[in-house]
């Protein structure tokens, strides 16, 4: 089956056996394609003694650690066919991932995301409020996962505004005007979890105490980017949703999990609060000792696979996140496929040895 044919299948419609058959065939094909076109990837497969005939299931597809894209430029198409290079967000000084996209892969990322997201939002574009500042897209230096996320989701927006100015202040006037213009319509809101909490929720809460309210009960909020900072503020997933509902009446709130290395295949949170794998990708949790797949309910290292990447060998990646598969094909929301939760980043282990002294943080 070609990827275009896959795109015609509704994203959460296949049961375990059927999905595994479909995805295994595609991932095996991608593995062979990258082996033929990316010499570094071919070297790695040869080092681990990869045997294509041994790939019987998605779990048999070899995986690269996601950090490989920070250390090595990996591409499976000639330089001149690359239309876009995406980079991960990284704090200053840290290495960033470089993901090389050709026309086909870039297009498939977008088509896939449309299929996944519109199965939650309904098809058709909506007025869209971006809960971030315009600078994040305008400024090339800032342009990273945040900018890419906003641009990616912007295709769902008919008319768009940025709710924050470049000082991350809520633009209440513009927001009020936008809501008045589109009253009665379904409105899409998009942003990054911590930014929403810090610059949107907290400001709405303050305004509410002053008697100023915004009604977003017609809105559907999609947010991503991780919970690390909110966990440090002791904000749970439930509290996030409830408190947002309290300040603006919004009910439809969907977190998503995804990474720049597998753009397009995002994992949307359903009405039951579970992240879901679509037919275009999958999540496998792995045990530390031997990287064998975990059982349902067992915490492990997250591996993600995606049927999209043709221009870089990123179709099967071992992440640095930890999570749990909660079930498969039986989420009360009715969607098929695996559903799971992410616990967060793997804990950094204190490695012994004799390096590093002066630079060590004083305690």
């Amino acid at each position: 089956m070609t990827y275009d044919e896959m795109l015609n299948i509704p994203p959460y419609s296949l049961g375990k056996a059927e999905k595994d058959r479909l995805l295994t065939a595609r991932l095996k094909e991608l593995t062979l394609l990258h082996r033929a076109r990316c010499p570094e990837y071919a070297n790695i497969l040869s080092c681990i003694g990869f045997d294509p005939d041994a790939v019987q299931s998605v779990t048999d597809v070899p995986m690269l650690p996601v950090r490989m894209f920070k250390e090595t430029a990996l591409r499976s198409v000639p330089q001149e066919e690359i239309v876009k290079t995406m980079t991960s967000s990284g704090t200053t000084g840290q290495a960033v991932s470089r993901i090389f996209l050709d026309r086909v892969t870039a297009a498939n990322q977008q088509k896939t995301m449309v299929k996944i997201v519109s199965s939650f939002t309904g098809s058709g574009r909506m007025p869209m409020i971006i809960l971030d500042c315009p600078g994040v897209v305008r400024d090339r230096a800032m342009f990273s996962a945040r900018g890419a996320g906003i641009l990616g989701f912007s295709i769902f927006g008919a008319k768009k505004i940025y709710a924050l100015d470049d000082d991350m202040k809520l633009n209440t006037e513009a927001l009020r005007e936008f809501l008045a213009q589109h009253s009665g319509q379904r409105i899409l809101l998009f942003g990054f979890t911590f930014m929403i909490w810090q610059h949107f929720y907290k400001e709405l809460l303050r305004l509410k105490e002053e008697g100023i309210c915004f009604d977003l009960s017609n809105g559907i909020l999609i947010h991503g980017g991780g919970w690390k900072k909110l966990i440090s503020e002791a904000v749970s997933h439930d509290a996030f949703r409830e408190k947002l509902h309290d300040v603006c009446g919004i009910r439809a709130v969907h977190d998503y999990y995804g990474m720049v290395e597998q753009t397009g295949c995002i994992y949307m949170e359903c009405e039951c609060g579970h992240l879901h794998a679509s037919i275009f990708s999958d999540v496998i949790t792995r045990r530390t000792a031997d990287l064998s797949p975990c059982a349902v309910g067992e915490t492990g290292i997250i591996q993600v696979v995606s049927a999209i990447p043709e221009s870089y060998p990123g179709h099967s990646l071992l992440t640095e996140d930890e999570g749990v598969i909660l079930g498969e094909d039986d989420c009360p929301c009715g969607r098929k496929g695996k559903y799971f939760k992410i616990n967060g980043r793997l804990k950094n282990a204190e490695i012994r040895g004799c390096s590093d002294t002066y630079a060590a943080k004083f305690q």
Partner: protein
Amino acid sequence: MPQNFSDLQYVIGDAERLSAMASLRPLRPFDEAVLSFFSDLSAMLRTDRTYPDIATFGFWCRKAALMQEKDKYDDLAERFGKGTVLHSTPSNVPVNFAFSFAAGLLAGNANIVRLPAKDFPQVTVICDAIRTLLANQHSALAPYVCFVKFPPDKEITDMLSARCAVRVIWGGDATVAEIRRSPLPPRAGEITFADRHSAAVIDADAYLCAENKDLIVQNFYNDTYYTDQNACTSPRFVFWQGAHTAEAKADFWERVHRTVRENYKLRPVQAVGKLQALCKAAAQKPMSLTKSEDLYVMRVTPEQLDSDLPDFKFNSGFFFEKEISDLCEILPVCGTRCQTLSYYGVKKEDLAAFLEKGRPFGIDRIVPIGKTMDFALIWDGYDLIRQMSRRVTIL
């Protein structure tokens, strides 16, 4: 004046003692008072076996052991301490500071020791013992000892560096570069412990004949996994010589694997790190991974021993492995960064012949497997006593 530095914390001594060091008379190397101090310290530390690394230090600084060290020097009559030694010690090896301090005092110097920032219980135990001795029967040596803690701070490092005759920097390239931003007095010397890697060589036939294979393997485990295979002394390379390498490798690694499974806790980031190290290396150079049921022992056989292969080293049980027919084949990975070559079953004369013939830029010590961590007054190619003392001749 040191009093002005609020971040400078004195664990032993105080600002006054630090200031007074400049006018302190140097001691003789292996001064009788110093030997007696370490003898008493050894006795105190060896009563408690809670921490094996403290016990090791306690055993190392026994009077008899130090007397033996002393006997190796034939020029002590002409030697004097240089003055004040500043030691910057590693943050993640608890007892290293004690060895560095001992070398400085044995060489006849006053010592300013920067302790690890982290609160290791071992540091507290040793410091308490030293403090007690200096407050009582060894008070004459108290002016020679100042233990401090401070956060990375150029001003403090400047102030301390300006006072020293010798600066000892442990902790690798980054630390050396950082501390070198602080100037030394023109006559001062420096001993730097940079990033290093190490290797092991095993004679397969000798191994197969050994009756104590489990002991050899335990020793290898102590050299590697005990410090997450991340000490400068930990072998990252394992070389095999002899006729029956396949058989020896199978037996050896099977035992290592069992020991690791029983004793070592591999954490998720280490597992991901090992896979990452493997892929990073394999992407650049032809090599093959030896099949294993799990990740505890990762063995990779490179097709060639390139001189940049050590750049791909990793820890937590990640080994480059190669069969050799002549020791000289390992020369490409024995550049200046190579520190310790440990061995089993290799004849000393063969090792000497290898050094003679191969003339590697690196390899500062060759020790039996199991002894890589044993501290000696000659370390990383430096004779610490001679580097931290002066030779005065009268004609």
